[in-house]
Each structure stands twice: as C-alpha cells, then as structure tokens.
Subunit: 454 residues, 2 copies
C-alpha cells in the first residue's frame, strides 16, 4: 500500500470535482491512508480540497486534518462549523492532536467548539493540555495511555486492559501506578504472559521498576527529544511535580520537534526566516528572504564607507582593490564555519560550555594553522605572479589576521547570544558574513598602510 | 534517574582511575544507564575510557559500546581481543547494533570475531545483515521480532510469545505470517486479550490486516525515514521481494538517519565536511575545514583576475571599488537562499521536480521583486550621497542583474546536481558563493563599462 501521487491521479480527481462525481471521489479516497488523502489535499486548490474533505468518512476525517499542511488545515477549519469541528474532535483523535487543532482556531471559536464536544473525558484532557506551553513536555504529550494499579490482580488487569485498550490500538507501554496515581514502573507483555498461569498474582509482584525513565511536565520539548534519542526511547511517561502520571510522549511527536529545529537552523544559516518553503508563494518567500538581503546590503554599504575612507590609499596602490573579494570571502567562510560548529554543538548538546576559554583556545589553534597555510600559499602565488614585496606582504598578513579574527569572532558571537538567551543560529548566515566583511576590510587597509608605510 | 554529568564527577572518576580504586569505579557505574556510562567515557581520555570500560559488567557492556562516539568506540574496540568482542556481541545486543559494530572492525578481524560468536542465530543474522548496503532498509533493520503463524491457536501463540519475548523486553508489534513466512498482518495486544477467553481460536480469525504498511528490504533508508514520519509509524516490518518478513525497523534508528542527514546538509551549507564536531581535535577540524577555505581562496584569486582585467576602468572610476563588497555579498546571500530552499525541498520531498520550468519562473519572480526593491533603495542612497548619475546607474543596475542571476543560478545548480546524482547540498556553502562572487564582479564591471560608455 505504498501510495504514489501522480499528475494523472490529480487531473482525474479535479475532473471528478468539476463534474460533481462524488461517488468516484469517495471510492478513490476510501482506499487511501489518511496521510495520503492529506497529501492529495495539500496539492489541489483550496476550494477543491474543502470539497473533497467533506466527502471523507467520519472515521478518517480526524487523521486527515491532523496530517494536512498548516495553511490548508487553517482554510478547511474555516470552512467548517463549530459543530462539525467538535464532531471531528469527538471521534477517535488523540488528545494531543485535538489540542493542537483547537489551539489553531480563532480565540472566539475555541470555547464554542469545546462546549460542543460530547466526550467529557476528551474535553477535560483538552482543557488540561491547553494549559501547558507548546514547547514543553506537557505541550507535546497525549493523555491517552494504559495504566494499571499495583494492587490489582493479573486477571483484573487483563479485564481493565481490554477496556482501556478499546480506544488505543497500539499499546507501547503499560504503566503501573499506586493509589495516588504516582508512577511506579512498567508492565511488559512478556511479564504478563509469563505470569498468566497465576491470574491472582498482584501486579506489584510482577512489574518492572528498573531503569524507569520519565520526564517532568514542564521539561523543555527539545530536551525531551534529546533525552529520548539518548536513551533510545519509543515512548516516555510524563509526570508532574508529585510524581503523578499525567501523560505520555511518543517518539513520532519528538521527531517533528527535531526536524523542525534542524530545518530552522539550516534556514537561518542560509539567510531565510524560519517559515519559508520552496513551494510557498512569491509573497511568503519575499517576506522570508528580503530582510536578510537588506541586512547584507546594509553591510555592503558599510563596507563602501570603509573603502571610501581609504580611497587615497587605493589610488596610490590600485592593486589593493583586486584582493578585496579574497579577503572578505575568506573571512566570511571561516566565520560561518566557526559559528556553525558552535550552533550545532549547542543544538545537540555535545558542546560543553563550562570550558569557554579552552574552546576559544582550540579555535585559535585551528585559526592559526588555517591562517598560516593560506597566508603561505597566497604569498607563494603573489611571488610567482610578481606582485611586489609590499603587496605580497599586505595580502598575506591581512589574510592571516582576518582568518584568525573570523575564527574567534564566529565562535564567540553564538556563544554570547546563547548566554543572553537569543537563538545562537542568528549568528550564522548573512549576519556574521556581513560583520566579517566590514571588519576584514578595515584590517586589510590598515595592514596596507603599515606595509607601504603610508 | 536523570543523570547530569558534572566536572566533579569527572575529577572524582579520574582520581579513582589514577589510584586504581576499581571498587569505587564499579559502584559508580553500576548505578548508571549504559547511555550515561557512554557519555562519561566520551568525556575522559581514551586510556581512562578503556580502563573504565573493562570494569563495566557484561550485561551493560554491549549497550555502552553501541552508545559511544565513533572515535572512542574505535579505540576501545582496538584495545579488545577478538574473543572479547565476540563475547560482547554474544550477549544481549540487537542484530542491527551487532552488525554495525562488526562492520567498523578492520577487515581481517571481522571473520575472526564472527567465528568466535557462539550464538548461531546471531551469527546468521549478522551475516545476513552485512550483505545489505548501509543506506537501505536492510542496512538499518534488526532481525529481532516477534512473529506468529496464522494457523496457530491463541494458546499456542501465548506460549510462543513468552518464548520469543525472552530476548525482547519491549514488544511493539506482533507480526502474523503464513506457512511461507510471508507477512500477513499484525496482532495487537488488545485483540489477543479480547479473545483470551477462547484459547482455541485461530490467529487467522483474529489478526488485523488493514492498513498494513511495510517496506522492501532494498528501499533507501532516507525513504524509510520519510515514510515512517508520514504515516507516524513507531516500527515498520521489512519484507523481501517475495513478501517474506525479514526484519523490522524501529523509529529510533530512523531518527538517527534523519538527524545525520540534517546535520550533513547544515555542515555543507556552512562549508564544513560532514564529520566534524565542535569537540573534535584540531587535526580533525583542519581536515574538515581547510579544503573549503582553500576553495573560497581560489575563488578570491579568480575574482582578483576579473578585477585585474578591468584595472584601467578602475583607475578611471576609482569609486567602483567601493561597491565590490556590496555586489558580491548580495549575490552570495541570494544564491545561498535559493540553493538552500531547493536542498531542503529535495530532502523533505516537498519539492516536486516534475515542474522545473514553473519552479524557475517562480524563483525568477522572487528575484525580480527582490532585485527591484534593492536596486531602487540603492539608487536612492546613491542619490542622497550625491554619487553622480553614472555610478548610481552602474551599482543599481548591477545589483538588480546580480540578484536575478544569483536566484536562478542558486536554484538551477542544486537541481542539476541532484539530476546527475551528486548531493545537491554541495551547491550551498562556499561553492555557490565563490561562483557568484566571480560572475557578479564580471557583471558589475561590464555594466560599468556600458554606463560610463568606456
């Protein structure tokens, strides 16, 4: 059942919509997985998507709407009445997805929709989840989980499991709690089966409490992602300050956190605001891209000011203009490298910040060696091309200093931003190259002044 | 049990190692999760890590070695005899991790280690897995899974599950196969429990075959990652060409694939070869960084050649030197943006390549508008600063053309690389900025010639 969306499928579907052949549309989508239906809806015009969505059967509709791209979902939700939205949330949809849906609605619609949901447990779960900030464990957890009491017998546990599992087809972990609903441990399928010959044995004598890893409800979502990756967890229980089991997070939700974070860092490094994709409209792309180009342009004007100050020098030694691109490009490249290593180290927690001086010293060594090698090569080139002693000296020494300086600057800035609680990824991309351009030029012309003893 | 590695812990440990207080080391590590022990070993000197690793008990050793950073693992494996490595793999370690370990050994040691493993099933699993390329479903799958035959009764199934699950404590899915071991569907805990009152019922009347998603053994690992993300799968069964169940992939292995891919793209965009981390030694950093700096430097020398060709022009209009940084920096920024959007779109499959002309036309629109806005702003600036008509014209028109050109160039190159099966991420970073620098300068001076009618 590996669905492949083709142009033919889309043009057939558009034809059915145009000619109102609902039965053909229904038979087409009835074979599809909700994620595939969502993929189709993302690809067609929004009016068509709304038309098709209303033909999706009740059972699949919740999963389809969860999988849609944000802008398509927003438009489809707008086309639905509060009652219709409440119906979608009433049917089998996990509480975390239900909460995400609700929180995307306009404020005035939220309470109306909630009041129309009939399943009382769902309502209390949603109200509870809405109270947690989006980027915490509480914000990404779901309330659906299977829990059993430590004082229960195995036979009661079996009966309860059948009851509780009626909503949840995939059971990843059965949690064991005490009378105060505090999390004690987990009960594996294997231990259940091993003891199934003695249905009167108590859970407290069977369950596993070794190596139990849980997260606090207010833990940062990214920290949860790192913890689940580190300990290779598929699902992790969430507890409150008293140790009471309040929810669970499965790794598929965490994968989204990881992916979004990585994409954000990548876009920042490329000088794009975080929410732009290649398929977005021209307007959205301009909004995400133009500001960064303008920052770069502003840096270019500053650079022009710097060169302007040294115009007299440039008219005496016009050959200095030739190496402006070399100096600023190399400075930019080195600065971006250094900053990217810090940003990545901070993101995956491999960078230990308790040794900032050590980090800068190492970067200094790398910069020194890179700088030396490049400077010697450039000196050799200048010698071969017969540029003359002063120019060869000026460009080689400048390149060396600029590489050294950019290494330190590129390392220090993101660490500094991180310390004052600004996203260090800002330091990559146009920002750091621009700053490097201006400072690199200044160094270049100052060294030139020295070398030519002007 | 959230372990936090501190300087104090490390200095205590180093003290124990120095003074040979093995009992203290053993009691320290016995409380730790294998992933935490690995974290500690990654932080201390390699000699110390080897010392501590030999004190890790047999049960934890396999998990510890799997979690280590690549270079530390390599060194520790070097310090072990083939017999010791075979013992680690013999104990409870999943076949996929065992295979990863084996494939990291020197060629001549591989067969020796395999011949020393006593568990025959493990040996045949490893030999089987070694045959699959690393970046396919077969290369990341594990052979450990729970499968039951469709003709079995429920009571036989329970007995078999207890047996099979003795190795596997976390059971995520029970697979149902036919007499030819072909995958038929899954058996959920809920359906087992629901039918537990009738132990003689056959599995074929109980199991679930709806919405069964599986992957072929030769599917690309990245495709598997995207499919699991799309369908929110925690685990996916792997089948061969005949539909025979051969393994399973859990999402924690896929998270690693996703993360590594994102980190690779990010490092490429920042001009770093893929295997460098902030904590790596100076030598490793130089190896990953210097080549990119040299590429940039080479571009700088080409740029010098271009400017050199126009030296006569530059001596007539020295003010043109002022805007060299502006032109090349803006071209670079725009090119990197465009390339990054394509690379990201290709990575997460949101970019549909069947409409290449449409894609280039959209990029052209974005480039046109960006270029117009920037050119007008720059013209205004030049007017205010009283630069004169020719210079204002030259820099504005050049900027416009460079932005347009860089947009198209940055879009086209990664698409082209992708088509000829080269990683499109090469097009980001120093490569594209360097190419843009040289071509941007050429455009700039040609426009200058025109405007000043030289």
């Amino acid at each position: 059942m590996n669905f492949q969306l083709t142009k033919d499928i889309l043009s057939d579907l558009k034809e059915y919509i145009l000619t109102g052949q609902d039965s053909k549309i229904i038979s087409f989508i009835s074979d599809l997985h909700p994620a595939d239906i969502a993929e189709v809806l993302d690809e067609i015009k929004i009016g068509e998507a709304i038309y098709v969505f209303k033909l999706v059967d009740e059972e699949k509709a919740p999963d389809v709407i969860v999988e849609l791209e944000d802008d398509v979902r927003e438009k489809i939700l707008e086309s639905l009445t509060s009652k219709e939205i409440a119906n979608i949330i009433d049917d089998n949809i996990d509480s975390d997805d239900a909460t995400d849906l609700i929180s995307e609605l306009p404020i005035d619609k939220i309470s109306e929709v909630i009041s129309l949901i009939e399943d009382e447990e769902q309502v209390s779960d949603i109200v509870d989840l809405l109270a947690h900030p989006e980027d915490t464990a509480g914000g990404i957890m779901a309330k659906e989980l299977i829990s059993v009491h430590s004082k229960w017998t195995l036979s009661k546990t079996f009966r309860e499991l059948v009851k509780q599992a009626s909503d949840i087809d995939d059971v990843y972990s059965v949690y064991v709690i005490d009378d105060d609903e505090k999390l004690l441990g987990t009960l594996s399928l294997r231990r259940m089966l091993l003891n199934s010959k003695e249905p009167q044995s108590l859970i407290e004598s069977i369950y596993n409490d070794e190596d139990l890893i849980s997260v606090k409800v207010d833990m940062d979502a990214e920290e949860v992602a790192l913890l689940m990756q580190k300990y290779d967890l598929i699902v992790v229980p969430v507890i409150d300050d008293d140790g009471v089991l309040v929810g669970r997070i499965t790794i598929d939700d965490v994968v989204d956190v990881v992916t979004e974070e990585a994409e954000k860092d990548y876009q920042m490094a490329s000088g794009i605001s975080e929410d732009v994709e290649s398929d977005d409209s021209v307007i959205v792309q301009l909004r995400g891209r133009l500001p960064w180009i303008l920052i770069g342009m502003f840096g270019g004007l500053l650079a022009a000011q710097v060169i302007g100050r040294f115009e007299a020098q440039l008219s005496i030694i016009p050959a200095m203009a030739l190496f402006i691109p070399l100096i600023i490009a190399t400075g930019g490249n080195v600065g971006v490298q250094s900053a990217a290593l810090v940003v990545q180290g901070l993101a995956n927690k491999t960078l230990k910040l308790d040794n900032l001086v050590g980090k800068l010293l190492k970067e200094l060594s790398v910069g020194l060696i890179n700088g030396l090698i490049c400077a010697v090569l450039l000196y050799g080139y200048a010698f071969l091309m017969d540029f003359g002693f002063e120019l060869a000296n000026t460009i080689s020494v400048s390149l060396f200093i600029v590489i050294l300086f950019s290494s330190l600057f590129g390392t220090f800035i993101p660490i500094f931003l991180n310390r004052i609680k600004i996203d260090p990824a800002f330091a990559t991309g146009p920002f750091i190259t621009t700053a490097n351009d201006v400072l690199g030029l200044f160094i270049y012309f100052m060294i030139g002044q020295l070398m030519y003893s002007l």
